[in-house]
Each structure stands twice: as C-alpha cells, then as structure tokens.
Symmetry: C2
Subunit: 437 residues, 2 copies
C-alpha cells in the first residue's frame, strides 16, 4: 500500500484534491512495475522474511481486521446479500489464523526464481540454460473472499512478482486491513511497499482500467470469482488472463471398477464440498455397468442428500431420480445435484465429455488399464484422473503449496496455478568467444 | 487445403456463388479445430511420415512452385516492391530444396507430445504427472517469405497442432503451391487435410477475422513479419499472441575482455547478417575499457563497412564516427549501422539496457565472472549471453531444430519458439481409489 493513495471513493468522479481514477491507477501500475524490477532480484530469504513477518502482522492485527470485517459484514447484510456471500466474507479468529498460516506455508515453498529448467550443451561449446524468472506484474481481481489479499499477494511475491489486488467493494475494509499487515511484512524485510498494492478505492471503474493493462504495467490478470466476473474479464481484458470459467467435471464408471471404490470416489467427488470447482457435476455409467453399478451409485448419492437428474436408465434405477434435460449435461451446479447418464462404452463417454465438458477435471473409475490410459490421453482437460476423486483438483493437493486459481486455458498456465505457473523464463548462454558462422 | 474453399478473391465483397468471407473463415476455423482433435492423438510416426512425404512432394513440385513464384515475382516487381522484398519472395531450386530439407529436419525432432515434464508422488499414493499436450489451433500471419508455409505448418504439425496460415498477398500463389505439397504429405500419412490450411483468399480482411480468434477456433496467433504487422496484431488480437516487436540488442564490453575475442564477437554480432532480429544494434563500452577497447572496436566496425553513431567519447575514437541522437539508442537498424556509447560501469550498462532495450538478446563480454553473473541475472531479456555473439539468437542454434519466431513477451513462450513452446500440458493423476478428506 502506498501512503499517497488511500482515498475511499465509491464512484468514478474525482473529489476535490483527489487525482482522477485513471491517473491513480496509472500511478499504481508504475509503482508495481518499479517494484517488480526489485522483486525479480530479491533473494529467497528476503521474500520469506517478508511473508513470515506479514503472517505475524496478520495475527497481531486480528482485532483490527475483525473490526473492519464487522463493518463490511454489516453493509453486506444491510444490502441483503445471501448467506453464502456473507459466509465467504466473514472472518473470525480461526480464519485470521488460517490466513496467516497460509502465508507461512507459501514462505516455506522453494523459490521458483532462478531454477534451471533445462540445459542445452551445444557442439560449439555454448552452454544454454532455460532459467525461471518472474512474470512481472500480476493483477488479481476478486470478489468477496478477503483472504485472497494475503494468499494472492504472498504467491505473487514468492514468485518475484508485484501484485495489484482489486478487492470486491464488499470486502474492501477487511482487505485493506489485511493488505496493511502484508505491507508491514514487506517493510520488515526491506522489500518495496509497492510489491503488494491493494487498489485503494472501491470505484468499479478500476476493474475496467486494470483490464486495459494500465499502459503495459500489468502482465497478466487473474480473476477470482463467479462466472460473471470471469466472463467479463475474459471478454474485455487486453492482457493475458489466467481464468477458469467453470468445472463441468465428469466421473465415468466402467463395469470393472470395484463397486465400493467407485461408490466412495463418486460420493467424494460430488459431495465432499459441492461448491468447489473440482466437484463432479455429471456421473457417466458405462452401459456394461448398468446391472451392477448404476443403482448402487445413484442410491448412494440420493441417500447422501444429492438430487439426481438422469436419463431414462438412470430414472429407472430409483424413483427419486428426476429426468434430466439437455441443459443439465452442461451445467455446473455447485450444489448437491448431479446429472447421470448411461454411455455406450469409452468412445461414447469421450464424446460426451468432449461435447459438454469444460476442460477442467475428469475422472475414470475402472480396473481396465487400457481404457484408463486412453481416457487419460484423450480427455482434453487440465486434470484427468484414474481411480481418484475429482476433488483433488487443488494446488495444495498437488503439492504446489498454494494456488491462485485453477486455469482451464491452455496458454502458459493450466490446472492449479501455483508459484511455478506464476513464473516465466529466459535463456542464459555462457560462451568463450563463440561467433556464429 | 480443403477442396471446397479455394476461391482467389481480392476484396471483401463476395462474388456470386462464393460464401461471404466471415463464413469462409469460420469454416476454416471449424475444420482446424476438428483436425486438431485428431492431431493431438496422432503418433509421432504418422506426423513424421506426413512431413517426410510433404518434403518429397515439395521437391517433386519444384517446377510448379517456381512457376507460381515467377507470377508472384512479376506482380511484386510491377508493384515497385523494393529489392529486399523481392529477394525474400524469390525462390530458386536451391531454396525449394532448402525448404524441403527444413521440413525433414522438423520430422527428425523428438515428438513433444506426451513428454512427462514433472512428476509429483503424493503421500496419499497419488502419482501426478505434468504431461505435454498440443496447444490446439495456431494461426500464423506472415508476409512475403513463402517458406513460412512449410516451416510453420511443419512445426505446428510436429507439436500436434492444426495450423491456419495466412500468407501475404504477394506470396499467395507460391504459398498455395507449397501448401498443396504439404497437403500431399498429410494425405500420404492419413492425417487430416485440414491440419495445415492456407487461407485460400488474398482478402486482407481475413487477417482481422483471424485476430478475433474465429469464434474460439484459434488458440494463439503468431505474426511473422515487419513491425507494422506485429504491432497491428498485438493491438487488435483478441487471442494470445507470440510476437516479437524488435531486437534492440546490446553488446557490453568490459576492460577485462580479451580484445581479440571482443572484436570478433562484436563484429559477428553486428555484421554477420545485419537484417536478422538477433543482430546487435548498440555497443556499450565500459569507461574502464575506453583506453584499450573503444578505438579498436569502433575502427574494426568502421573498417568492415559499418556506420557508427556515437556519444562524445566514441566520436573522439575515430573521425568517421558521427554523433548519435537519443533516438539512436532505441533504434533497431537492421542495417550496417551501430550506436556506440561509453557507460560508467555495470550498473550504468544495466540501466541503459533497461531503458532502451527491447527484452530480446543482450551480451556481456568480460573476464569478470561476477560481472557476467550479475548481467545474466539482471538483464530482463529473452536471451542473455556471456562472451558469445548475439547472432546465436536462433532456434536452430539452440538445438530446437527450427523456430516459428523469437518471442519477446514473458507469457508461455519466450525466446526461440520451437515445438516445445508450441505445446501446452495437462495433469495426469493415477490413483487406487483415493478420496479427499
């Protein structure tokens, strides 16, 4: 946070004595770019020290953060926000501690900067190395969850990037208090305060300005929020975006799958948490598995409180199943609802996923190794699994320590976006006077 | 090449019986996407067979290609195109053979698809692998060099991608003949003809349509041409772009550099070929090297026919040096001209490169290992070299076999863009029934 720019404005018009929003955002961009140059060269120990001190500052500021959060919560309730929204916004001492712990976990990650990714020894004696470097300046646009301020800021910092964070207006006060604590950590380590900047105004036009890239100051935008935010960012951004639109994830069960295993994985994929992007939304049961697997799986879901929308055969498996419409196959419910369809073999399953899937996370449950290998090779999704729950779609579960999101595009980052994917590379060439013939 | 769409139109209005351009381009996009799904699963041998057969067809079609080239050349000369333009367009038997050989070299590359890039064995028994996959559909927009049709098509194919190639209108006939030969290769191997499509019309509006992404059919655009083309693509593209704007490349010489080595590397960096993007454009001489290195280096360049535009000290080194203006430090001459400046130590050199460089390729010549390491770490360019010529900025010289261009951005691809950088990845997870707690 930069001391000069802390106005709390709620609309685009500038008040007396305040810079116009475009000037303010341009200045934030310049500061971020300047900070990124220093961060690119910051040793791992400095970044770790900043994060550990930031985590300490978060814990020390618990009362301030909770007081600001109470103000945000009161506004959100007064505005009639739904309970799920209020829950994402709400902090308590345990959640503040969890935010601090997450920052400490990021501090414990290996420094991605400077890793030698590949080496090419050339016949002329040149040694060429591909070396990881930071990306530069990362713009993060998020909605209600104030922990993103700490998470995203810490991940960007560990990868040597400057972050420009734009909090949803409803979490503005809470996010500001969290950003202040992260700023204390940066100061402790002697790193630039502008390494983690929270846009200091609520003005929604700040989002549009960030999507322009602030005159080349932002290298990539990461939207974290619901579908409408992500779609808007993808449509309007003039800089690259790491986005995932939705996870219409499938679990495809073959007859050879152990039934207990299949039941356990299907239930976990759908019901462990229904609101996460890795949750399964469609169950595909192979025609050969109808006599053995269909009813037990459908009934297990129903008994666990999941609504099932099925095709004719699934409806026949249990009277509680309601008929699915074509729309159901393409729907990310994020709720205790699953679509269920019988498919006629692996090719039909692949065709269904190719038509309705969202390239996020898909699983096959089978004892047939050849079918599993084909599924893993042919399903064009960020994450493909054999005999495991789709809910493993998570950077922490991959061992990445933390993630800034899960990307469904194929450019630069795909799947869980951790510190490695927040990096670029360059080529370092060492010679002894070589010239090119 | 698809047989259905081969009209030779020169403006946007559709003629009787032809589809409107937007429909034509959308159809090309759909065909490319469909082909990309098949290519993603094509084994290496099929791709290699297609390329080797394509190279054979190129050699067999030499007379046809040269005849079409003669027509293109006649038009270019009639339009008063400069000699350099005509030279880039012109083919002869040797150049046709070189195009075929380049395709064969690409066929000999390791298949990038399916490579395991990283493995993560998790405590819960999950084995997670990051596996290389194709990017999808690549749009290549180029100008006069007809060899790009074969080069770019072959590189995209080897990486499992479909290519949509838009040739400059001046090379349209030649490029069409080359594309037909590549199509023969695809047919020989049983791969989809739509894997390498040349936009079958000269209509310039096709470029604008490609930049929209053709309704999601194009994953990335690669512009190959001059600055005005690349700038237009970067400004207007709604899909990711692998672009390099220019190479304002520096050679920084310190006093400890062996003079003979420095002279040889400086001359090679500037004069081996002046028109390539890896050519040096600015010589920075350390203040400590002025008594020993400045005059010999400047005079060697002058004696080789290079104009030198210098600061006060460089002007003092030889009467043939003319004063540089501030603009010279930011200029990519692509000609036998170099800017020369004395800098006050490593920090001053880094500051100069940071201010005027284009993040392409920069070299330090020194015997001081610490200075070299700092230069390699701190210069934010795609390629940084110690004691070697900047003209090594080339995918072939890196051992990548071939390149579709040199990227100066930091997203996804950077430096020489070979088959590896034309790839994406996904995560393959193998389990035994794991569920997430």
């Amino acid at each position: 946070m930069s001391a000069a720019i802390t106005a709390d404005r709620t609309h685009a018009a500038s008040r007396a004595g305040e810079p116009p929003l475009a000037d303010l955002m341009a200045e934030i961009g310049r500061r971020a770019r300047a900070a990124s140059h220093r961060l690119a060269l910051a040793p791992a120990e400095g970044k770790r020290q900043a994060l550990i001190a930031g985590a300490g500052a978060l814990r020390a500021a618990e009362r301030v953060i909770l007081a600001q959060n109470a103000l945000d919560l009161a506004d959100a309730r007064a505005a009639g926000r739904p309970a799920s929204f209020v829950d994402r916004l709400m902090l308590d001492p345990g959640r503040v501690d969890a935010i601090a712990s997450a920052v400490e976990a990021i501090a414990a990650l290996p420094d991605p900067v400077g890793r030698v990714l590949a080496t090419f020894d050339r016949p002329n004696g040149l040694r060429i190395e591909r070396v990881a470097t930071p990306l530069g300046v990362i713009g993060v646009i998020f909605e209600s969850r104030p922990n993103v301020t700490a998470d995203a800021g810490a991940l960007c910092l560990m990868a040597g990037n400057a972050a420009i964070l734009r909090a949803g207006s409803e979490s503005f006060r809470t996010s500001s208090a969290i950003a202040a604590a992260m700023g204390e950590g940066l100061a402790t380590a002697g790193l630039p305060a502008d390494a983690i900047q929270l846009v200091p105004v609520r003005d929604r036009d700040a989002v549009g300005l960030m999507l322009t890239g602030l005159g080349g100051a932002i290298d990539v935008i990461v939207p974290r929020g619901g579908r409408s935010l992500v779609e808007r960012v993808q449509a309007d951004a003039r800089v690259p975006v790491f986005a995932h639109l939705e996870g219409v994830n499938h679990v495809y069960v073959q007859a050879s799958a152990d039934l207990d295993m299949a039941r356990s994985v299907v239930l976990n994929s759908k019901m462990r948490r229904t609101g996460v992007c890795g949750a399964a939304e469609t169950l595909l049961v192979d025609a050969a598995a109808v006599p053995t697997h269909l009813a037990p799986l459908v009934q297990a879901l129903l008994d666990r409180g999941c609504a099932v929308r099925g095709d004719t055969q699934a409806c026949a498996a249990d009277p509680r199943v309601v008929p699915a419409s074509d729309e159901d196959w393409a729907t990310e419910y994020l709720d205790a609802i699953i679509a269920c369809r019988v498919v006629d073999g692996l090719d039909d399953a692949l065709a269904h996923i190719g038509r309705y899937g969202s390239h996020h996370t898909d699983a096959i449950l089978t004892a047939d190794a050849d079918a599993a290998e084909r599924f893993l090779a042919e399903v064009d999704s960020a994450i493909v699994l054999h005999n495991a729950s789709t809910q493993f779609a998570d950077g922490g579960e991959f061992g990445f320590g933390a993630e800034i999101g899960i990307a469904t595009g194929r450019m630069h980052a795909r799947g869980p976006v951790g510190v490695e994917q927040l990096s670029s590379f360059k080529y370092r060439v060492r010679g002894s006077g070589q010239t090119r013939p």
